[in-house]
């Protein structure tokens, strides 16, 4: 297997979408990548050499942590398994990463929640009501060593927002967001019946309350420094298989 430059990581439970997604990621793409998905649904087909599935019955943030801790690439790219990715998207994101003189750059693609819909540019911030809330991305690419330096995800998140919290921590550590501007590389979420957003009722409110408690000042403004220290996963909690 060619050594991957980019590791695509995510918690993932929809194997019926994986082969199509893999084909989309390979289309017209040159930068070597691997996919490391972690979750509790085993695929019923053989995966390509650079597509690693780690069986795990824990909650999504711990699956995230397990996926990236098992990844080998210099860069980590979050791509969930319920999205449509245009050809060359990974190459283009990587090309922008190479152009950044900031080691803590966060490269994102534009994103839409509909197959034919417009990109949701205004949605990607910590707090839409707050005009000074920082730009955040979806499907973000960052250097793996930045995640290592920051200690990975906070273990208190149960379902979602752990990646948002991590982005905020990267910005706090002098990171910088950059969004690939072109409409040609919009990552699109499939219809919600497949999507992680369908799981919103399963408890994200407590995660959002946690996220707000970490980054919102008492006056409602966004804090540029995290209000509480991170509680990382311990090494014992993470299943390293590679």
């Amino acid at each position: 297997m060619i050594e991957p430059v980019i590791s695509i990581v995510a918690p993932a439970i929809r194997p019926f979408l994986w082969q199509e997604l893999y084909a989309m990621l390979c289309a017209e793409n040159n930068v070597p990548f691997e996919i490391v998905y972690c979750g509790n649904v085993r695929p019923e087909f053989e995966l390509p050499e650079n597509f690693i599935h780690i069986f795990n019955e824990s909650k999504p943030p711990l699956c995230y942590e397990t996926a990236w801790r098992n990844a080998k690439g210099e860069f980590l790219l979050i791509i969930p398994d319920d999205v449509i990715v245009p050809p060359r998207t990974v190459d283009v994101m990587y090309s922008y990463m190479q152009r950044m003189q900031n080691e803590k750059a966060i490269i994102s693609a534009r994103f839409s929640d509909k197959l034919g819909g417009p990109p949701l540019d205004s949605h990607f911030c910590f707090d839409m009501e707050n005009p000074k809330s920082p730009v955040l991305g979806c499907a973000t690419m960052t250097r793996r060593k930045v995640w290592e330096e920051l200690g990975g995800f906070d273990r208190r998140f149960e379902l979602m927002w752990a990646d948002t919290d991590l982005q905020m921590r990267i910005l706090e550590a002098s990171g910088h967001p950059f969004v690939v501007p072109s409409e040609n590389y919009i990552i699109r979420e499939r219809i919600h019946v497949y999507s992680r957003l369908a799981d919103l009722t399963k408890g994200p409110l407590s995660d959002r309350i946690l996220l707000d408690s970490l980054w919102k000042n008492s006056d409602g403004s966004t804090s540029e420094t995290r209000l509480e220290p991170v509680q990382p996963y311990t090494k014992d909690e993470i299943n390293i298989i590679r």
Partner: protein, 251 residues
């Protein structure tokens, strides 16, 4: 006059476009702004209160520096009078600027080269995102662009434009100096600037000025290219600012 949040500054000589530009900016933006244009062509019409014109026969880069030093906005946009901005240009740019935690961010609109005033529904030539790099064919060359916007404090901190440039590429030089100082680019995906056809203004166009025999290009290359003509991350030649005596302050 309301205090401007953003100042659009430029060396400007195409007075025939000024009112179009002003109308475009003032009709679909709510952000207080001002235009500060400097050049040797007097407009033969009355300018609005937030449109300042300063007469100067100096070279273009000195006109830019004069425009900046006479501006008041919290943000400064290195603009031009042959530019057509997309709708809500100022609102969108300011919205992104306020969301940046980095004081050294260089905010760029997307760039398209040929404005077509007859295009239906405003759909002109699409932006050429891949051209927005400091050196084509160099995969590590940073993202740069036209009409860059930065905090006024950053312009001041850098000392302004290098006085050895005359017509072009001082903006490119400044963007690279910002990156050298730890700054980063951000391209606003929702804003575009179209350049009017190059034939209208051969003096200032990159096409006309980018030849190897151009003294600005030569100076830029001395500042930023190594012996293999690869773009460097650190400037080779010390920066030379304009002196206070050179720049008239009229406001």
């Amino acid at each position: 006059m309301e205090k401007p949040i953003i100042s659009l500054v430029a060396s400007a000589i195409r007075t025939q476009h000024w009112l179009d530009l002003y109308e475009k900016l003032s009709t679909d933006n709510t952000i207080p702004f001002e235009i500060v244009f400097v050049g040797h062509m007097y407009p033969d019409f009355v300018l609005p209160e937030n449109f300042i014109y300063i007469y100067s026969e100096a070279e273009a880069i000195e006109c830019y520096e004069t425009a900046y030093r006479n501006s008041k906005g919290e943000y400064v946009s290195f603009f031009a009078d042959d530019i057509v901005p997309s709708s809500h240009f100022l609102n969108e740019m300011c919205a992104y600027l306020r969301r940046m935690w980095n004081d050294k961010v260089v905010l760029l609109p997307r760039l398209a080269f040929e404005y077509d005033p007859d295009a239906r529904d405003g759909k002109c030539t699409p932006p050429l995102d891949s051209c927005m790099v400091a050196q084509l064919n160099n995969p590590e060359a940073p993202v740069v662009g036209a009409c860059f916007t930065i905090k006024r404090s950053l312009w001041k901190e850098l000392g302004g434009l290098d006085r050895r440039f005359t017509h072009i590429w001082s903006d490119l030089d400044m963007q690279l100096r910002i990156y050298e100082a730890g700054g980063c680019p951000f391209v606003s995906p929702t804003t575009i600037v179209w350049e009017r056809a190059h034939t209208e203004h051969p003096r200032l166009s990159v096409k006309a000025g980018a030849g190897e025999d151009n003294m600005d290009v030569n100076f830029f290359n001395k500042c930023w290219l190594d012996e293999n003509r690869i773009l460097l991350k650190k400037r080779l030649i010390e920066f030379q600012p304009f002196t206070d005596d050179e720049i008239p302050i009229v406001r």
